[in-house]
Symmetry: C2
Subunit: 120 residues, 2 copies
DNA sequence: CTAAAACCTAACGTTGACGTCAGAAGCAAG
DNA sequence: CTTGCTTCTGACGTCAACGTTAGGTTTTAG
């Protein structure tokens, strides 16, 4: 499929797809005239990339991990890397949970016993 | 206390503290010569700011919410805003959880049954 | 009193993941 | 054939939360 189709199917912009290639995350084949051609599997790959970006991984980190996904093999180094990212994500989840609870506290306090009725 | 002390106590850079003021998140008093002076309460306030930044809120959003925290009163609008941010954080936690599980899957698959022994 | 340390304002630099625009070329339909 | 949509390669623009540098003042330690 061509880049526009992939963009539509993944809901990722054409620019982003080119950017992913630039970062070494995606390697489409090229037609004679230079147009990119993607296999069906690219759809899932883009979704994985999006998910990892969403989790705060950088292009560089994702690029380092993709060969593991492709080859289904990890070196001790890449395994350590993966575990480190997982731990970072866990830490971030904990942080977000605290922030959320904090926000709920604020909501509770500021929604307090109808301020308009105090002293009335 | 002065800006350097606050920076030390909150582990936030001096530049960041000035930036927070610029964004309307912090309002220190000034000494005759123009130096910023912070009350002790500023320590907790900076921590709250950091926590909200960490949760992905923007300066603008935080600036809108601080008056509620100060006055301990929220308007229906600000309450909706707070709830919206909380929901966004919950969504983000869910996303991170999925990504983490995905990473764990990758770790499992790539750490598979000793690849070096296959076909040996 | 003096030198070092801390502070001030103003303003440009950084980073990452794209958005956007310019100009040229490929491709399906009538 | 040509109209119009898609794609191509640069390359500059964006945005947020600071980092950094410059040049000058204030405070503190000795």
């Amino acid at each position: 499929m061509r880049i526009g189709d992939l963009a539509t199917r993944t809901r990722v912009s054409v620019r982003a797809l080119r950017y992913y290639e630039e970062q070494g995350l995606l390697a489409p084949t090229r037609s004679g005239s230079g147009q990119r051609h993607y296999a069906d599997a690219a759809v899932n790959r883009v979704r994985l990339i999006q998910q990892l970006y969403g989790a705060g991984l950088s292009s560089k980190t994702i690029a380092e991990l993709m060969p593991c996904v492709d080859a289904k093999v990890s070196t001790p180094e890449s395994r350590a890397r993966l575990a480190a990212e997982r731990d970072r994500i866990n830490a971030q989840i904990a942080e977000l949970t605290l922030a959320r609870d904090r926000l709920n506290d604020i909501i509770d306090v500021t929604s307090g016993p109808n301020p308009q009725c105090d002293y009335v």
